[in-house]
């Protein structure tokens, strides 16, 4: 009996499944930890660009600040205001964090690491991005507060604007690779050019959409602090606020990983791509993560009608043109062959 169980456990498909679980857990932990330390990175980099020091007291370079903050936020009173819709109020931050984590499952990190590579991977990502807005919207609505409601409304308006061109901006890549599978897209780039060159306009539009997905400056309208106090999470505190907060950073890590995979050849580097693939992936991701912070340090916030106008009048036509031209080039190359 025991021997049979051991034999079954040692059988290749079960081992593979166990290995996948281990991989998934490691990646999840890595994701959460890097998201948490991204808070430190953001504070230090912002400080660097703002002529000040930032958190530098706890541990070397202030790295322990994250731990201190975690302890603080875990032990804070988990306060739910009496006037909120309780179920939705609790659900919203859960959604915010878990959906962003789910998205990272699609990112191919190295040739052998990655949680999943479904055939319709990109479509799955679009679905997640579409769902993620519910976190903000429900958070804003369930708070039963005017500032939160305005934040939620803005978020909805913003989503309608960027989701359309986000989907279209990636279709050029799908056409070139002939697949929705993220791993196939990475491999297709390694066989030819990185997508950022042939799909440059796609990349530009995707960058804007990626910022919008994470609600980061300059698309932080739902939580525009100088206008709506804290926007959709005005009524949140303690760990529920913490989940919105960490969810935002998880989103940044996810979107940076996606950008690396979709436009910058994944783990491919100038040398040793097969020996240190993770290092190349991490370097590229870190670069994009830092550029999110740079944007926050550099840019003011547009008005949301201006943001919507830019989305519909500039980004959408640009991504449509990109799609048509990519299609034409592929057809032309195909007929020439």
């Amino acid at each position: 009996m025991f021997a049979a169980l051991l034999a079954w456990l040692m059988s290749p498909p079960v081992l593979a499944a166990l290995w996948a679980v281990v991989q998934a857990v490691v990646i999840l932990l890595g994701l959460v930890i890097s998201a948490a330390w991204m808070i430190w990175l953001e504070r230090r980099l912002l400080a660097l660009w703002q002529d000040r020091l930032g958190p530098n007291r706890v541990g070397p370079f202030g790295l322990g600040q994250v731990i201190a903050d975690m302890i603080k936020i875990f032990f804070k009173e988990d306060w739910t205001p009496p006037f909120v819709d309780k179920f939705t109020f609790v659900l919203a931050p859960l959604l915010a964090m878990s959906l962003m984590m789910l998205g990272y499952a699609l990112v191919p990190i190295t040739p052998t690491w990655g949680v999943a590579a479904p055939e319709l991977g990109l479509l799955f990502f679009f679905a997640i991005a579409g769902l993620a807005v519910y976190a903000v919207m429900l958070g804003g609505w369930s708070s039963n507060s005017k500032y939160s409601l305005l934040g939620g409304l803005r978020s909805t308006a913003q989503t309608i604007s960027y989701e359309v061109f986000m989907g279209l901006s990636l279709m050029g890549i799908v056409m070139q690779a002939g697949s929705f599978n993220m791993r196939d897209i990475v491999l297709a780039q390694q066989a030819g050019w990185w997508n950022v060159i042939p799909q440059f306009f796609g990349f530009c539009v995707w960058s804007l959409a990626a910022i919008a997905v994470t609600h980061r400056t300059p698309f932080d309208l739902p939580e525009a602090e100088s206008e709506l106090a804290a926007g959709y999470h005005t009524e949140y505190s303690g760990m529920k606020f913490g989940m919105f907060f960490v969810g935002e950073y998880v989103g940044i890590v996810m979107v940076s990983g996606l950008t690396t995979a979709l436009f910058f050849g994944g783990w491919e580097g100038p040398f040793w791509s097969d020996r240190i693939p993770f290092v190349w992936f991490a370097i590229k991701s870190l670069l994009f993560m830092s550029s999110f912070i740079l944007l926050r340090a550099a840019l003011p916030r547009p008005r949301y009608d201006q943001m919507m106008a830019a989305a519909w009048k500039v980004c959408l036509p640009l991504s449509l043109a990109n799609l048509l031209i990519t299609g034409a080039v592929i057809l032309w190359q195909g007929s020439g062959a």
Partner: protein, 596 residues
Amino acid sequence: MADGTVPGLPDSASAVIALCGADAVTVESTVDRVPTLWVPVARIVEVLRLLRLLRTGVAQPYLMLYDLTAVDERLRKYRDGLPAADFTVVYHLLSVDRDIATRGQGDIRIKVALRGDFPSLPTVSGIYPNANWYEREVWDLFGIGFEGHPHLRRILLPPTWTGHPLRKDYPARATEFDPFHLDALRQDQEQEALRFIPEDWGMKRGTDDHDFMFLNLGPNHPSAHGAFRIVLQLDGEEVVDCVPDIGYHHRGAEKMGERQSWHSYIPYTDRIDYLGGVMNNLPYVLALEKLAGIQVPERVKTIRVMLVEFFRITSHLLFYGTFAQDLGAMSPVFYMFVDRQKAYDVIEAITGFRMHPAWFRIGGVAQDLPRGWDRKVREFLEWMPKRLDGYRKAALENAILKARCKGVAVYDTANAMDWGVTGPGLRATGCNYDLRKARPYSGYEQFDFEVPVFHNGDVYDRALAREEEIRQSLRIIQQCLDNMPSGPYKADHPLTCPPPKERTLRDIDTLIPHFLGVSWGPVMPAGETSQMVEATKGINSYYLMSDHSTASYRTRIRTPSFTHLQQIPSVVRGQMVPDLIAHVASIDFVMADVDR
């Protein structure tokens, strides 16, 4: 005179006398030489309408109600030749065109004598829109009623307050009151009294097919710049209407003036516009020097100009940073605080304090400039211009920021006049009116600088105007540095404070006034005086009445921010919430300056 003019008075005053009849009008001579006419209360609306419109052959009407205030005359001793009055309401009108044409003769003061304990008179808010808040303030603080006023309710004090504090029978000291208690019940009552009821303000809660949202922005909000509350009537994110609510920062500065000595009130002035530092001392001491007849030495004038320009720079830098921050750019403010610190280093080296030096004195300044002051000033002058160039690229020329500001919250010169707007907000509408040029004080006529004027009247132009003013202030400071006159830092006059001490141990005639001047403070001659200055945020003035005593009989502080906030609804109706935030940022106000 044959043509009806009165010698020494402008044509407009003659028109008023012609309207009311020579017997009904009393001409008062004041120390500040502002033409002052007492008119009968029954004619006040006609008189102001005449001056506002001036249809009858007199050009350059008084478009701006510069100030409106009141005086409790019941305890005043020195008022020979003035009409009998228990209360006086004072209207101070200003004509910018006339002021520029006549080099500083563009204002007129109209007074109305009122009898009785709780008198009332007709409102003039139909003629001058900004009389609305001024009349509410007078009602709040004096208990004088204004018939026909649309919303005559308390403005600076809580709605639950009893009594009218600026009346002479109202105590001025905390020891004259019972101790303050706030229990849960009273707290609830105070909260309930603050509830906004749209119907009270003539607002509707909705139309047939949709409701409006009433959003309470403030008194605690990241962009409210202090304890400022503004209730918005929203249709989506469009501001249909709004009601600014002030008074959360009121601390009775005018009442304090009546119990502090002339000298010991100076530190209170620092805290009126708390970003303006000695800029607040300036109109106060200038007004008093007029009253006392003190001529200050050239060195004093130049030191004062240099320091107030330093404070103009620090105030504008704070505006610049918070303005960018309100538009979502988080970094500029940190850089500007570094620059402000550099400026404060210089200010601290000279005065010993950073934000509130209280360093000007009646008849001079507290001390001479320290050794090496010129080196510190020069360092700052070398540091600042490059930084300003960088900010222009990083902030003002940013495309997103421009899109947020251009064409947003626009008002024209006529609107600015209606609401009493002065300072950069007025000059951004194309009106070239800067008191430092129009009626120079403290030696500004000797300086070479430009007045930045812009023409679109939008948020962006108001920001540009302030940015350019920083550069001009640097020019003025450079000239102070290059041409600082030598000489004493205080006038030789018995009413300066502290009084001159050099000869006290040699003759008794100096010792006694010195002793009295130090222990009681100076006794100012009876009279009325005022001084306007181009402060950091607009025109600030002190209107002081002396009853030949050691303290002021009435201290009126006219601040620019008060009227600027009143203007908000007329500018932001129909705009969006982010535009309102941009406009509020572009006003550059501090609530201490509004509420006093």
